[in-house]
């Protein structure tokens, strides 16, 4: 049986009907069609699926879509303003924080959540906060530098 729900994703309400067992990640990717968020492990280990739920980070592969009914969901597609990247996204490009790109949507969301609660994180703060997000390409150096650059620039995230 499918159950009606309203998923507010990046400011747009979507009236959907969902299997109660469907994950938030599957609902956003397969029902709504926003494929920026990735499925890596499907087990809450890698963070590639990370979104913001009412402003707080969530591993959307492990969260029932029905629980997000009426709440505000932000995915990587919701960060940029039109074609204009936010400072964090630009910093990822400038610092070599992106290689294959698979972890990037989750990394950006995770770092956004960090910077909203801790606008001036130390390198250790950044490494700890992003330890729930696995990257197999960059070695993390560029990612950490990018987050630190944005924090020091004092621009809004």
């Amino acid at each position: 049986m499918r159950v009606p729900a309203v998923l507010n994703v990046n400011g747009t309400p979507h009236a959907v009907e969902l299997d109660p067992h469907m994950s938030l990640l599957d609902a956003v990717r397969d029902v709504i069609g926003l494929t920026g968020s990735k499925e890596g492990c499907d087990d809450s280990e890698c963070g590639a699926c990370m979104m913001l739920l009412d402003g707080k980070p969530v591993n959307s592969c492990s969260y029932l879509a029905m629980q997000a009914d009426g709440r505000e969901v932000t995915t990587v597609e919701g960060l940029a303003k039109g074609d204009e990247l936010v400072p964090l996204q630009r910093a990822f490009l400038e610092q070599g924080g992106v290689q294959c790109g698979f972890c990037t949507p989750g990394m950006l969301i995770s770092a956004t959540a960090l910077l909203r609660t801790n606008p001036d994180p130390s390198e250790d703060d950044v490494r700890i906060a992003l330890s729930g997000n696995l990257c197999r390409c960059t070695g993390y150096g560029g990612i950490v530098r990018a987050v630190r650059d944005v924090a020091r620039a004092e621009e809004p995230v």
């Binding site: 049986m1 067992h21 990370m50 739920l53 592969c61 029932l64 390198e123 700890i128 330890s131």
Partner: protein
């Protein structure tokens, strides 16, 4: 069977749903992951309890501390009372999962999931916490030591819901710490863990609680380790004796995260670190939260 999902707004709604066979979900951080890993399929009938206001909140008063079942790990870590007087619990909640887990994962879910590796279990046990379980018609209070019966198992009936957790306030000269051995700094489960809660008066240990995590089918206290500390000056020798007793009182398994032999060896190390940190806090010295990171001399981030 048809799959159903309801989101309860009141406790009464939730209890009615449980009474007719639905299973509860709060933060979802264990239930869905457990299903993905094949531990148990998702229930056909699910009742979400995360919007029930009466189940939230952290209240500290003369009677002690009361944690609503929906108190998140983030809220626990942010509580000044918990950081100050129930510090080991803050140590534990600060390292559960990642910041995504701590934003949504609840203390009620953590306790009722009954993992022998859960971080908050040892501190709650050592603080004499009890679970308040409610069903449609009645309520009962169960000490956590009686609640857990094995990995993933509790004495709660299917129709019962954990509504809050309560514990008395420790004496003012008490210090506490929770330390775990971990391979990764987030999204990690304790390889082994240890909790120490010690009271120090006039230079002498007058009360001690020691519990081991991921070292037995349930989290449990080790009376021999506690006895080694009480009446001592909390010096190196009694601390070492207590740590050895904790290791001897463990019955670890071999799994993907460690062999039984390795766990036994590390039980002594981790228990010693927890006791040392708890004693330091009891003596008024500053040990940062979480103690797990603070008690390791060289952290990975310190190597450049």
């Amino acid at each position: 069977m048809t799959r159903t999902f309801t989101s309860a707004i009141t406790l009464e709604d939730a209890l009615a749903a449980l009474g007719s066979g639905a299973r509860p979900v709060a933060g979802g951080t264990d239930l869905v992951v457990g299903a993905r890993q094949g531990k148990a399929p998702l229930p056909d009938a699910i009742v979400a309890i995360d919007r029930i206001e009466a189940l939230g909140g952290i209240v500290a008063d003369d009677d002690g501390l009361r944690l609503g079942a929906l108190a998140t790990h983030d809220e626990i870590v942010a509580s000044a009372v918990i950081r100050g007087r129930f510090t080991a619990l803050a140590d534990a909640s600060a390292i559960v999962g990642s910041h995504a887990t701590r934003a949504h994962g609840t203390i009620g879910g953590n306790v009722m999931n009954a993992s022998p590796a859960m971080d908050t279990g040892g501190p709650l046990l050592c603080f004499d916490a009890s679970a308040i379980l409610r069903s449609g018609s009645k309520e009962r209070r169960v000490p956590l030591g009686d609640l857990w019966t094995g990995p993933g198992a509790t004495i709660a009936d299917p129709g019962e819901l954990l509504v809050w957790i309560q514990m008395p306030s420790p004496e003012p000269t008490t210090g506490s710490a929770y330390v775990r051995l971990e391979y990764r700094r987030q999204m990690e489960i304790a390889v082994v863990g240890a909790t120490a809660v010690v009271r120090v008066d006039a230079g002498s240990v007058t009360d001690a609680r020691v519990a081991v995590t991921a070292l037995a089918p349930t989290i449990r206290r080790v009376p021999e380790a506690e006895a080694a500390l009480v009446g001592s000056d909390g010096g190196d020798e009694p601390v070492a004796a207590a740590a050895r007793a904790a290791a001897a009182g463990s019955s670890p398994i071999t799994d993907v995260r460690g062999s039984a032999g390795y766990r036994s060896a590390m039980a002594e190390v981790i228990t010693r670190r927890a006791i040392v940190a708890a004693l330091a806090r009891a003596r008024g010295q500053h040990v940062p939260i979480p103690a797990s990171a603070a008690t390791i001399a060289v952290t990975p981030g310190a190597i450049r």
